[in-house]
Subunit: 124 residues, 2 copies
DNA sequence: TTTCGATTACGAAAATTTTCGTAGTAAAAT
DNA sequence: ATTTTACTACGAAAATTTTCGTAATCGAAA
């Protein structure tokens, strides 16, 4: 049911697949290892579990499997964001936005973009 | 060490303490129960664990304990936000902000506030 | 003072998530 | 054809988080 609430490790794997497209376990594991030590079979097992949960699909390519994310990045982000706002900011998206803007540097272009979005929302 | 990364259940308890100030286990449990069924001893045990971890402090008030959050709401939010942005938006706070603004309704006043913050940041 | 009721202490079980060892398999290299 | 290499499958262990039953404690009520 909670297909849209992947665990932290699952999310790490999804990120790699979203960024690189369908990949082998080997590749995913190598990407993960750039951040921290992870055993190959650990990654394999996780991806098999995710396959069972239908978070991933896979195709046989010769003698190995190519795994593909079966949930969309943006839909997942929206879903996780919703839960995060509730749990951490008691549902106040505004508080989160203020906090995020306050604590992260951003370029003029990015700020301009956000400003435009706000202005368009204020029209309504 | 991960004092600023409370678990989900711990965060629920912290929210209640942040909102209501120092409280008894009974009170916290009643608040939790408003959202979902939780046994009294479950809440008690969690708060005792949090006490051991120094997430909470407590004082004896007659025959019961008054528990108090020992970590600050805002510091915790900032910390969790940081991790969330990394895990879910690959570190792009802007993407998160756009997503949050796009998917949550907000009042003119709130939007105005954000706009002001952005304009002040654009000055620099 | 005794009983009752509410609370805390403690330990263990259950559930979830993460890790990894071992064995089996098949293609590639020798 | 045999060996080596690189995978996958499987199951179980470890670690973490959550839940709760039972016993002990202590103040309040009778």
């Amino acid at each position: 049911m909670d297909i849209l609430k992947p665990t932290e490790s699952e999310l790490e794997i999804l990120q790699i697949l979203w960024q690189n497209g369908p990949s082998s376990v080997r590749f995913v594991n190598e990407e993960l290892t750039k951040q921290r030590e992870v055993g190959y079979t650990t990654t394999l097992k996780l991806m098999q579990i995710m396959f069972d949960k239908k978070l991933l699909s896979r195709t046989e390519e010769g003698r190995y499997h190519l795994y593909k994310a079966e949930i969309e990045e943006e839909a997942t982000q929206i879903n996780l964001l919703e839960k995060f706002v509730d749990a951490t900011f008691r549902g106040s998206a505004m508080k989160l936005v203020m906090q995020a803007l306050g604590n992260h540097d951003s370029s003029k272009e990015e700020l301009e973009e956000i400003k435009k979005l706000i202005e368009s929302k204020m029209q309504k």
